[in-house]
Structures are given as C-alpha cells and as structure tokens.
Amino acid sequence: MIKRILIVDDSPIIHNLLRKTLENNGYEVCGDAKNGREGVELFGQLNPDLVFMDITMPIMDGLEAAKSIKTLRPQARIIMLSAMGDEEIMSQAKDLGIDIFLKKPFDDYKIISAIAKLV
C-alpha cells in the first residue's frame, strides 16, 4: 500500500503542483527535498512508501540520489519525474531499478495512474 510520499525536486512549482495532486487523491506528502542529497537524507529519516524524483538538481542529481536510495533499500519505490527523457537517461534509470519514468509537464491523471501501476 502506498500512502506516504517523498518529493525530491528543486522547483517549488513542482512541489506545489505535485503536493496538490497527491493530497487531493488521498496521499500524504511526508517530506519535501530540494536536491538529491536532501532527498537521500530524508528518505533515510522518513522511510516513505514512494519517492517522486527529479533528475536535474543542484548538489546531487536524481539518478545519483536514486542509486543511493536503492543501495539503502533495494525495494524502494521511485518514480522519476523529469523534463529530460532521452534513451540514454531512460536506460540509466532502468539499470537502477527505477519503477516508472514520467516526463514533465504532468497532469493529475498521469501521476495517479503511475502510482496505481505500483500497487
């Protein structure tokens, strides 16, 4: 069951929009991180059911953060949500065991149906 979700993105716009979408659909946003390093730290502290992870972020990017999280907990569920989505990045994400890769911009349907696929 997915209930508690961590958002990792450097854009306050994405935090704002994604939080609205998730909360309107009954999910709890248990943490907000602005870069990959914060995301890894919060993941360790909060143990969320799911992580939404951007790729392009300062300090630590999303692929590196996802790798660290998967090392901490191999069964961690991660949805990449990024403006980038070329074949090379998709392949790297697949190798890391990323569950789903979504391209921005997004709408409610895209987000909620992606979560539904993980349940």
Partner: protein, 157 residues
C-alpha cells in the same frame, strides 16, 4: 545556423506553454540572428546544457505574459513579476522546454546533452550579454504579451 539544432526548441515552446498554462502562442517560422546585446522584455530565464557540444536557451518574457503564465500554473493572482513563485514558474517553464528539446536532440544526434539548473531574473530593459556565442531568436506573441526564445550553440553538429 544549423536548423536541426534549433528546430526542437521551436517545436517545444508552444506545446509546453499550452500544456502548462493553457496559453496559445503564435510563433514566427524562422530564427533571426542576434547581433547585439538582448534587451530584456521583463522576465528572463537562462538554462545551459553541455555534452558533446555546449549551448544555452534563453526565454525572455513580457511582464504581463509572465504574470498570466504564473497565475495559470500556480492557480493564484500575482501583482509583481518579481514575486518568488512567478520567477519559479518561468524558471520551470524554461526547464521543461529545454528538457523536451534536448531530449529530442539527444535521441536524434546522440549528443548526451545534460541541463544545468536554470537561472531567472526580472528587470525590463536589462541588457543580456552573452559573448562568444552566436545566438538566434524566435519571436512569439500571445494574447497577454510577447516572448522571445533565444538559443545558442558553441558549435554545430
């Protein structure tokens, strides 16, 4: 100018803006070389990318259009283009337009381009000087104001 490098940006801007904010953009079909410093319309965001080649994308937007974009994305009215969430909205618009175009360029030409986080600033008339790069602009209009998309690459394919 190599059209293959610039066309993905032209293809992305109108679609991404419509999807994010519901605003329709009328775009010119051709890119024009910029030979002087660019005088900002009001709100500007620059995003750099690098890989097998280097370049950057500048979105330069009139205040009235920037406020409308932010209102539609965030869902609330703003009175100044200098408000944090207005700047954040324009910054994210630039990130998504650049990401969409760079994804297409990477898939077509295997350039392994990666984006840096965008920077954004507000200030009508500010001179944007980007030396050493030849840049090309596409001028766009909308019901709410003007937008200039300016792209530059360090070299061709």
């Amino acid at each position: 100018m190599q059209a293959q490098l610039y066309d993905p940006f032209k293809k992305s801007i109108a679609g991404v803006l419509r999807q994010m904010s519901g605003i329709e953009l009328r775009t010119t079909e051709v890119f024009h070389p910029e030979t002087e410093d660019i005088e900002s319309y009001g709100v500007s965001s620059i995003i750099s990318f690098s890989g097998k080649i280097k370049g950057r994308l500048l979105l330069d937007i009139e205040q009235s259009l920037a406020l409308e974009i932010a209102k539609n994305i965030v869902g609330q009215e703003f009175s100044s283009e200098k408000e944090y969430m207005v700047l954040a909205a324009i910054s994210e618009l630039n990130n998504i337009v650049a990401g969409d175009a760079i994804t297409a360029l990477n898939n077509m030409h295997s350039l392994s381009l990666r984006l840096a986080p965008p920077v954004v600033f507000a200030g009508k008339g500010a001179a944007i000087c980007i030396p050493k790069l030849n840049s090309y602009s596409m001028y766009c209009t909308s019901e709410y104001g003007k937008l200039r998309l300016n792209a530059a690459f360090e070299r061709g394919l």
